[in-house]
Symmetry: C2
């Protein structure tokens, strides 16, 4: 017991030295080398205890944060062996490599969350508490981004490929757990925001418990992904699939990593273009857990064709003319389109605010207006064609309606003017909307 | 002079007799026959004078209105000869016959407007004034519909056919005059509404002057149309063109007539489908005034083709895929479409509130939602497919945005369910809009 205490005293002394030098601005890289032995001997369980004592002795939370970073980095180096194995052969910028890299960041932030929450619970000093709370707010707001980036990319870009192959259960289980984690982190943020509304002891106990729960769930997810989900992806997805994923990643963004460009030089392969049937090699390449889970139930491959005979390829989907007509009819906005020669070329069908009939098709827009106002129409079109204006909006009251009219110039991919779109809608109903009504509030 | 006065006294006595019998409820049809001689001898100029005297003697404005109807009807019978000539050979329900019939109604209402405005100016009795004002309000509000029906049909359905043939000037002149008349009638309505805000004498003088001006403009337009515009149409338009016009008339409606169905058994011919060149027969068939106006200037036929190679026929227009993409990108609402099998088939491109990537295409919508909320998605879809619900709407605050989400089921022309459309928009900007901003307010 004395030995253990002494040992801790020794470690604490070493850490204090380290901290002092960090505080004095010495290179972290250099310190890492020097203190590698000390730090790698401290177990994650010991850290909060030691740090808590350091905090008592008046060392700032910011300096402790730096040490924590250092510690996590050394911890990561210690487990680098397995990391290396996981990422082996994956080039920089490959979506799977990026996922592994993000998981390291998530792991580190989860550890830090737990660490600081525990430190907070034992800190008596008011100023120190505020400092730690500041760090915790940063960590929690960082962690909220995990859902928007890392999990969201998996759910939106990657799951479709395994769903097509019949592995829908994996996707559903992971998504359910992602959402649980999202909710936990949201609760932590809310709890931080409401800390002044409850006694300090209540707050700090609840926060510590919830932080530990969230940290555990986050690291548990990292474990599941690294050991089951990612190896599954590795066994199944082809270069073309990864290429398609890579092309869409930018829409969601990343968690604390910034992968370089990666181009395997193959055509992107979208979920609806793959052959979803599993080959023997693919089956044997799956992690044991997945092989086990697949036993005894037939895989339901999804072989539905996306593109049907006669479909129009709109770049972001394939629709029939029948569907297009119904879509335009259902829009909450009436549209009329004039082409690059100012002729009316299309109007949306159905009940409209301003009536349109087929007789207007092909008519120059200047002849569709009261002669008195034609000069304004021409002024707007000139401003659009010359690129001086990007929209012209109008609004007027008409009976019980509040009619909002918007004109915008349209351009093709080459940036050439190809026409102008008129959009008309009744905004009166929107002006009345208050509060919120969410999906889960729906009742039939 | 005495003779004239005596003559008027006689006519007045006859009219009083007539009125008494109208008041007692006798058949107007029978009275018409009996008083034909008397009434047909009264000139339109005399009518206000006589009626004014009758009003002084306490006869109600309603009874005078009935007599006025009778008078106009007899007047119409007197000019029936020309009417018959104009309408000769036009079957009931033919758009041109309908226009002639509406013009008779417009003529009658214009006369009544003038008549009552003049009577009002000389009426001293308070109760009688109110009664006349009531009748005038009805007439004015009726006449406002001339612009929405008769003129609007001409401007929207008929003008495109003469514009294509190069007779753009006729269309522009008529539309300008239509708008002047619209403005006059609107002013009359406003003046009636503000009568308590000014001295009676001021009001009544202004009203009389404006009513006379409007009545003159209305009847002048009837004259122009009947003698120049309609004969021009008769010389130029084919059965197919009238058929197309007839098919669209319902969108605008009619002025006090209700034409029966008319189907010449030919294919409808839209403006962009006609051969716009004038034949010699057509030129010679034009009214002298139009022939005169056309001299010395070459007719600029509009032979532009509406449908281009590769265009998609959307029923209400022809667009290229390039134009369609640009239209969807410019919409103030993001859309996502799932087909009858619940699979995502299309989403609109561009900056979106909720990100969509191609990976979602072909994915069952149930797999695109957090597993927790899938049951609600399924409930909504079931209600849509079973026809129990026509929409589901949600709204929530998201940063500075007020996001409004609307789901609607889509059906084809046979009424079969073909999918569901999700529409998402930010309504925060609409909530801030106040007042009005009209086309003529635009400044570049």
């Amino acid at each position: 017991m004395t030995e253990l205490l002494n040992n801790r005293e020794y470690k604490k002394e070493q850490l204090k030295k380290l901290l002092r030098r960090i505080h004095e601005g010495e290179s972290v890289e250099k310190l890492k080398e020097e203190f590698r032995a000390v730090l790698s001997n401290i177990s994650p369980l010991e850290i909060p205890l030691i740090e808590q004592e350091l905090v008592k002795e008046g060392i700032s939370a910011r300096d402790i944060a730096k040490m924590c970073d250092l510690h996590v980095e050394l911890f990561r180096e210690a487990v680098k062996g397995t990391d290396e194995l996981e990422e082996k052969g994956l080039p920089d910028g490959h979506p799977l490599k990026t996922l592994y890299q993000e998981n390291k960041e998530i792991m580190k932030d989860a550890e830090m969350l737990n660490l600081y929450a525990r430190t907070l619970a034992t800190t008596k000093d008011e100023r120190m508490r505020e400092e730690i709370l500041g760090v915790l707010e940063e960590i929690v707001s960082s962690l909220r981004m995990v859902g928007f980036t890392h999990y969201n990319r998996e759910e939106m870009l990657i799951f479709p490929y395994i769903e097509r192959r019949g592995l829908t259960a994996i996707a559903t289980v992971l998504w359910t757990k992602h959402d649980e984690i999202r909710a936990m982190i949201k609760q932590l943020a809310e709890l931080l925001g409401k800390r002044d509304e409850m006694p300090w002891e209540d707050f700090v106990e609840r926060f510590k418990a919830k932080a530990s729960e969230a940290a555990f769930a986050l690291s548990d997810m990292v474990f599941r992904e690294n050991n089951i989900f990612y190896p599954t992806l590795r066994a199944l997805l082809s270069e073309g699939e990864w290429k398609a994923i890579r092309m869409q990643e930018g829409e969601m963004g990343y968690y604390k990593v910034n992968p370089p460009a990666w181009n395997p030089g193959v055509e992107p392969l979208h979920p609806w273009e793959i052959n979803p049937e599993l080959s023997v090699e693919q089956l044997l390449g799956l992690p044991k857990e997945v092989q086990q889970a697949l036993k005894g139930q037939p895989l339901e491959f999804d072989k539905s064709e996306l593109r049907r005979e006669g479909d129009i390829d709109l770049g972001t989907g394939y629709v029939s003319v029948e569907e297009l007509k119904a879509i335009f009819e259902a829009l909450p906005v009436d549209i009329t389109f004039i082409d690059r020669d100012d002729r009316v070329r299309f109007f949306s069908p159905g009940e409209r605010i301003f009536v349109r009939t087929p007789s207007v098709l092909g008519r120059p827009v200047q002849l569709c207006h009261p002669p008195k106002s034609v000069y304004v129409v021409n002024k707007i079109l000139r401003a659009f064609k010359e690129g001086r204006k990007k929209e012209a909006t109008f609004w007027l009251k008409l009976g019980g309606r509040y009619v909002y009219i918007k004109y915008v110039p349209l351009f093709n991919e080459k940036g050439e003017y190809i026409g102008t779109l008129e959009m008309t809608m009744d905004i009166a109903p929107y002006k009345k909307i208050e509060g919120e009504k969410r999906l889960l509030d729906w009742r039939d």
